[in-house]
């Protein structure tokens, strides 16, 4: 069922009755996580997620936090695990419409590390590869420059952009520059988003990519974005908003009103759960256990459904 009628007067921050009914159906409570054979599938209670992935109109993949260049006991071969993640994407049984790397592609922002990760991403069997930078891709003055040289084509400002496909509006944000305590978007980027979404129908499904979470997951460790509220307030009128981030090296999902947040697994090594231990130190797992903590994410979307089905898979 597709409805293209414009917002019937819900006001800037309001909702139409129809949106409210949908909103309640899709975002009425906690996210349900279904775990089957090592896969975590999350959906909103009441959303139609039972359809097989093969029938989806849009299928895309998120990979995150490859940290190419890292050396340490938490993962002695980050290149190998990232290559395994790429192979896993290429073995999904379908060709994703696109793949998004949600940041910390590199560990130290060096041109050689960017070259290596770009070369590896070119092995993906997909039409398009997108990226947003992590703080490890933004070190010093040279890091942001090297990132934009490798991944900044057709982007605006510090590397932000948006695109549309299958009726979904995607926004890719940079919140790893000009940091003071937390992630930071900045007024230029918030203005870009304001103009970017001004003409969109409130029924347009929105997906926002950022490296650092746009919700306050654990500010003590920098796991939040200081001006995210300013950004997210502009999305109150939309029926379906999904924010997909990396940075925290673990799965975590939550809903706030009409917005759903999903933090992704890394391909390198896990971090502790918020507040467990003194700092977000790379966790060293017993031999053979690392692949249970890293992996890839697929997202399926059926036009007219609005809700997206997010499926997280451990590294095979």
């Amino acid at each position: 069922m597709t409805e293209d009628t414009p917002d019937g007067g819900g006001g800037e921050h309001g909702m139409t009755r129809r949106q409210l009914i949908r909103h309640s159906a899709w975002f009425g409570g906690a996210i349900v996580l279904t775990v089957t054979a090592g896969e975590v599938i999350s959906h909103i209670p009441g959303s139609a997620n039972a359809a097989p992935a093969s029938s989806a109109d849009l299928r895309f993949v998120q990979v995150s936090d490859s940290h190419i260049g890292f050396q340490g006991p938490a993962n002695m071969d980050v290149t190998g695990t990232f290559a395994a993640a790429i192979n896993q994407v290429n073995s999904l049984g379908f060709r994703p419409d696109f793949v998004m790397h949600s940041g910390d592609l590199t560990h130290l922002s060096t041109p050689a590390q960017f070259d290596q990760v770009k070369q590896m991403l070119s092995q993906l069997d997909t039409d398009r590869v997108f990226a947003v930078p992590g703080e490890h891709d933004s070190i010093g003055d040279n890091g942001p420059r090297a990132y934009r040289q490798a991944f900044g084509q057709n982007t605006l400002g510090d590397g932000w952009y948006s695109f549309d496909t299958h009726g979904v509006h995607f926004i890719a944000l940079v919140n790893t520059l000009h940091l003071e305590q937390l992630g930071h978007l900045g007024n230029d980027q918030i203005d870009f988003v304001r103009k970017d979404i001004a003409g969109l129908s409130s029924d347009t499904p929105i997906v926002i990519f950022s490296h650092i979470p746009l919700f306050a997951m654990y500010p003590t460790w920098g796991w939040g974005t200081d001006d995210a509220v300013q950004l997210l307030s502009m999305f109150r009128r939309f029926s379906s908003v999904t924010c997909l981030n990396g940075h925290v090296h673990q799965l975590f999902s939550k809903t706030e009103g009409n917005i759903t947040f999903h933090s992704a697994r890394p391909t390198c090594y896990p971090f502790p759960k918020p507040g467990e231990g003194p700092a977000p130190l790379p966790v060293v797992l017993p031999a053979g256990r690392l692949k249970d903590a890293i992996g890839v994410r697929t997202v399926n979307y059926w036009q007219g459904n609005h809700a997206l089905a997010v499926k997280d898979e451990k590294l095979a």
């Binding site: 050396q71 340490g72 940091l179 937390l182 920098g222």
Partner: protein, 82 residues
């Protein structure tokens, strides 16, 4: 100065002008030693991998706040006395 568990230790270091201060990163993740934005301070290390060091000799008395640009919640200060 030691960088351990995503913290600069000690959080405030007091030294006399002319002292060379060396930071050693003992963490498994990378860190920087960078003067706080807007402070006009001189600290500007590269990203320090595990066991790498950065040194700076303070010649002018004053208060020098700094942080790690990769993990900006890590903050500390060097106090330089005459």
């Amino acid at each position: 100065m030691t960088i351990k568990n995503f913290a600069f230790s000690p959080p405030t270091l007091t030294v006399k002008a002319g002292t060379k201060v060396t930071w050693t990163n003992t963490d498994p993740d990378a860190h920087t030693v960078t003067s706080k934005q807007g402070s006009g301070g001189p600290l500007q290390s590269a990203a320090l991998a595990t066991n790498e060091t950065y040194s700076y000799t303070f010649t002018q008395p004053g208060t020098y706040p700094y942080y790690c640009t990769i993990h900006p919640f890590m903050t500390a200060t060097v106090e330089v006395t005459p």
